[in-house]
């Protein structure tokens, strides 16, 4: 395959993380790859559990309420031209304000009960049956 390249044009806007934590690796590889017909393979129990753990369905009601919450927490000081609102915010003394980071989605530590989740389980679990568009080579 391609040799490891030192090519970097620079700029540095594009992040090149190495997936190192368990959650990263799971997110990349879980449910990927060819499958051996179920009737002849022996399954490993741990993996079956892991797969179930990773399939989380988010109810739309909760999702919408989280969106609303995130939007309401937003600090529009420097972005908004809505002066009355800015004044009102100032009068509240910022006590109610929380800064960014509100959108977190559903977080769930992925892993089978061990403490091997290096990055704190902050990856959202993913995906139901994927809608995949595939464009053949």
């Amino acid at each position: 395959m391609t040799a490891t390249s030192t090519h970097r044009r620079g700029g540095g806007y594009l992040e090149r993380p190495a997936p190192s934590g368990l959650a990263d690796v799971i997110e990349i590889i879980l449910d990927k790859g060819i499958v051996i017909d179920a009737y002849i393979r022996v399954s490993l129990v741990g993996i079956e559990l892991l797969t179930i753990d990773a399939r989380i369905v988010i109810a739309s009601v909760d999702t919408y309420l989280r969106f609303a919450e995130a939007t309401n927490r937003l600090d529009l000081y420097e972005k908004s031209k809505d002066l009355p609102e800015v004044i009102q915010d100032m009068q509240q003394g910022g006590a109610e304000k929380k800064t960014s980071g509100a959108i977190k989605g559903v977080k769930k530590a992925i892993g089978s009960g061990d403490d091997d989740n290096e990055d704190g389980g902050s990856r959202p679990a993913k995906k139901s049956a994927s809608r995949r568009r595939r464009q053949e080579a």
Binding site: A3, L14, I36, I40, L44, I47, F67, K126, A137
Partner: protein, 257 residues
Amino acid sequence: MTALQPNPTVDANVGTGVYVYGIVREDAHDVARDTLGIGGQALRLVSFEGVSAVISRVPPGDEPKASELVKTHARVLEELNAASTVIPVRVGQVMIDDEAVAHEVLRSNTGHLHDLLDALEGRDQFVVRAMYNEPEILAEIVQGNPEIARLRSRTRELPADVGQSDRFRLGELVAYELDMKRRTDGATVMEAAEPYVAAHVLRESTDMHRLLEVAFLVDGDCRHGFEDALEDVAEAMAERARLQLFGPMPPYDFVGD
């Protein structure tokens, strides 16, 4: 390695089976030599008509921890992919013995596996993950839609347990606007990458601030152009979104289900 040779150690460990990592060409038989599999087990090849499955014994005793299994599986495939062309097998697949691998995995699918190896030759997978910067994108949305701005002003003054229907409507509208932005911005990323990729697979996500996640299959020749194009997009979107590029990695998303 000889095809269909039964593994003499299997009988001594009844039920442990063999773990399957991936499929390579038989002439790539050197690739697994220095790599260890799950539980430190040595990798072996089982071959049939030019294709080989990379396998190891499942270590006897307790079932391996799932986390360890996933990491080792990924590491083995990374190493195979760096050295050759590999078809990843899904994590956790275990067969009774070598013969089962040769018969059920290789012999039943020989033509398909050869075709797949041909199609993947000289190519690597990359995953692009783009995520919105939450404050910036929400500010855009609030300022771009008067009804959202109005609902926001109204509900943020209320106690948390009041105004649920307005909150719900607000969230629904924000979700809709975010989806519209995803389409536009996602298309920008796709258009930038398109000249350099052989194939792509969109990856679905439930993450609220995910703009796009997509796996690309990229020819070795196109890799620099691909990386440069993404750098340009990342720069253009820098105030609103972060772009991450993972890879090169084995072609996990391009081997079918």
